[in-house]
């Protein structure tokens, strides 16, 4: 019989694991210096990216690449615009 599961969200992907294994992996990620949001009651953890890694990338001034969808679901990568000057704008409806 399958026991309770634990959902580990890592790099944006959610994976279901046996509960004890999920908790152990979250704990190890935290010990390795990653920010971890943990909810034992809900059986879920989110593994984030350390500040040091983000700071290193940003201070290099190399724009971090990303690929995000438009309204139609088509993915657009920043790197596809290499060779152009880019005005990158974050906005929201709120």
């Amino acid at each position: 019989m399958a026991g309770p599961t634990f959902t580990l969200i890592d790099d944006g992907r959610a994976v279901d694991l046996p509960y004890a294994e999920g908790v152990e992996r979250a704990t190890r990620a935290e010990a390795a210096g990653r920010p971890v949001a943990l909810d034992l009651e809900e059986g879920a953890a989110y593994l984030g990216v350390p500040a040091s890694e983000r700071a290193r990338q940003l201070s290099s001034l190399e724009a971090p690449d990303f690929a995000l969808p438009d309204l139609q679901g088509a993915l657009h990568a920043l790197s596809a615009h290499r060779g152009k000057k880019v005005l990158l704008v974050a906005y929201a409806s709120w």
């Binding site: 920010p35 990216v49 940003l58 001034l61 005005l87 974050a90 906005y91 409806s93």
Partner: protein
Amino acid sequence: MWQAVYEELKGFGFTVITVALDKSPEDARPWIDAGKPAHPSLIDTRHVLADLYNIVNVPTILWLDERGRIVRPNDVAFGTDTFKHITGLEAAKHLTALRAWVRGEAPAMPEARARQLQSLPTERDQQARAEFGLGEWLYEQGRPAAAERHFVRAGELAPHDFTIRRGTMPMRGLDPMGPQFREMLGAWTKAGNPYYRPLSE
């Protein structure tokens, strides 16, 4: 919002990429339908961009050069003066600088200056983003009470991060333009903190 700027400058090897930090494409759709952008207009429900670039409020703009280098770090600018009466920020100053840079009439700021003006994330900021990520996942799983705990924790860790404090309001049954937001904003500014942080030049 930025479509006119794109049309004006696209002939100079330039594009605009807009990214909506909204919980769903449907929240962003009315804005995109109204703006009819011909440039990439993307949706970032999981705040991927905010995490990568340490974006803590909207609007945030950056300039990236032809080699993909950040030549103007996170700044506040509007494409039009629609919200000037609320924000006190005029579109014209940034637009003038942007035009000059895109047309090759003026360089962007020196690299040393760009680094100096950058705001880098702290461990608390990244912990807040992890709490946000877990909260959003729980919300999407239909567990709003559990999500709320993590949204609250995220806001406590990074009180300056309005992509979290205001951006989660639509998931928490709160109006991001309503009394709860005005109360949050009032407490924040009363304590001497600016809501918008344009680059000081």
